[in-house]
């Protein structure tokens, strides 16, 4: 366990609701530079690069390496949306363990505008292009509105519970100057918000932004500044049910079980939790799948743990408050967890945070997401 790769830096650009004039490549470079500065490392020390972006084309990871002036021994690109950051972390940890690289920069970000979103949602995959786009379905909101209805019916929940997720995350966001929504949100405001695709309202969905995130992963003997964060485990279970279920159970129960077996630690006991929050309903599904809702009472968990006790879940405000910068959404929760464990979360710092659980979810193949992964992180004393 002592030879685990370590996260030693994290960075994020400003998230912007409107185009800033920066290209995707420039945003990725800015986030990477911030993460390296956080680690006290220089671009010339990087020998591995991983990138996730929907808007990099026609460039690929090697084009980015060229423009970043990197000579590399290890290189990858990942297209798996909300699961991409942890997929890259899984590969990069193995690469460092194998000696293929010593200093890996993981980048994720996007600069997407209206027409880009339309083509992204209509040509997400062959099934979407052939079966969903012709319906004028308007993007994944419609699919998650159907999923949220199933979730409400299965667990007997009302909109107040989903609103509780949005309200609790917004409380954290009021202390994150990087979040695009920082004003306090009340449950009444949530309930009165405009519908997007009922039962989804505005605050069940992420605000779309441009921006990028980055982390630096190094071999244990690389000297960097600040608290190192060991990657104790990264586990994935993708396509668990062939899209033949109801979408209310992800691959994460298997992930949590395997993480516990491999690390000897129950992931549900971590001090900090970042779950992939593209929709409020997916926060609840992942918290259950990861074993955090021990009695299965979702309504109580939201009311007591999230709202009354302020349990540290998505402490940046999550994507629901901070914004979703395309593929950077997959790395946003990882960046926040690394900041918390390195005691660099400023006004929202959770005192004594030593361990973190981060999950990824995504890639709607036809009716719901198929990818799921999670990482268990621990600050090295």
């Amino acid at each position: 366990v002592t030879c685990a790769a370590r996260l030693v830096g994290a960075g994020e650009t400003r998230y912007a609701r409107r185009p800033t004039g920066s290209t995707t490549q420039e945003l990725l470079a800015e986030a990477g530079g911030k993460a390296l500065a956080d680690a006290g490392l220089s671009w010339s020390e990087v020998d591995g690069l991983a990138v996730a972006s929907f808007s990099l084309r026609p460039d690929h990871s090697i084009d980015l390496a060229w423009r970043l002036g990197l000579k590399l021994r290890w290189l990858m690109e990942d297209p798996h949306g909300g699961a991409s950051a942890l997929t890259m972390l899984q590969h990069a940890s193995a690469a460092i363990g194998a000696g293929d690289a010593r200093v890996v920069l993981l980048l994720a970000g996007d600069h997407l505008q209206g027409p880009d979103f339309r083509s992204l949602v209509n040509e997400f995959n062959v099934a979407t292009r052939d079966e969903l786009a012709p319906l004028s379905y308007g993007g994944p909101n419609a699919l998650f509105a159907l999923l949220m209805q199933r979730h409400m019916a299965k667990f007997g929940l009302t909109r107040e519970t989903y609103g509780g997720v949005a309200v609790a995350q917004r409380r954290w966001a009021t202390r994150n100057p990087g979040a695009v929504y920082r004003h306090t949100l009340s449950l009444d405001e949530y309930l009165a918000a405009p519908n997007v695709v009922p039962p989804l309202c505005r605050y069940d969905c992420v605000p779309l932004v441009t921006g990028a995130d980055a982390v630096v992963l190094v071999a244990p003997d690389v000297h960097a500044q600040g608290v190192p964060v060991a990657v104790r485990g990264v586990v994935a279970h993708h396509n668990p049910d062939h899209q033949e279920g109801d979408g209310l159970i992800t691959g994460l129960p298997d992930v949590a079980r395997e993480l516990k077996e491999r690390t000897g630690r129950d992931p549900a006991t971590c001090d900090i939790v970042s779950v992939y929050d593209d929709y409020s309903v997916m926060v609840l599904i992942q918290l259950v799948d990861l074993g955090l809702v021990s009695d299965g009472d979702i309504e109580r968990y939201v009311r007591v743990e999230l709202l009354e006790r302020g349990r540290p879940v998505n402490t940046s405000g999550g994507q629901l408050s901070a914004g979703q910068a395309g593929a950077a959404g997959s790395m946003h929760g990882l960046v926040e967890a690394v900041r918390q464990l390195r005691m660099a979360a400023d006004g929202r710092q959770v005192q004594g945070a030593r361990s973190a659980l981060v999950s990824g979810y995504g890639m709607v193949l036809y009716r719901y997401g198929a990818c799921a992964n999670a990482a268990l992180l621990e600050a090295v004393p």
Binding site: L135, L146, Q149, H242, R367
Partner: protein, 113 residues
């Protein structure tokens, strides 16, 4: 032509949509297609705001085809969950409309336009 073509596994008879390449149940890579005309609506959702600002509110729904898989369809007419519907493959994707002459005409008029 009404109905929707669904893949049937030559090995185990399982129905799947969209068509797979290999059957996860029996491992066969051989598929036939079979026509299904009706199903039951499980949920519906009215799209009031679309990503990228496409115009016009549409209603989509989950429809469990008879003997078969769940599909996402455009739902035309005032149809509530639990209703049996007729499904049709159109230029606008799979459409689900009320069973009966009036509903089918309504479905065609909306989906093919």
């Amino acid at each position: 032509m009404t109905g929707v073509l669904v893949a049937r596994c030559a090995g185990c008879g399982r129905l799947a949509f969209p068509a797979p390449l290999v059957c996860h149940r029996c491992g066969s890579d051989s598929w036939h297609s079979t026509r299904i005309d009706t199903g039951i609506v499980e949920e519906v959702a009215q799209v009031l705001h679309a990503v990228g600002g496409t115009s016009g509110a549409v209603t989509v729904g989950s429809v469990r085809l008879d003997d078969g898989p769940l599909v996402v369809a455009r739902v035309v007419g005032d149809i509530e969950p639990g209703r049996q519907v007729r499904v049709t493959r159109t230029a606008g994707g799979i459409c689900a409309g009320a069973i009966g002459e009036k509903g089918e005409q309504g479905a065609s008029a909306t989906c093919l336009s």
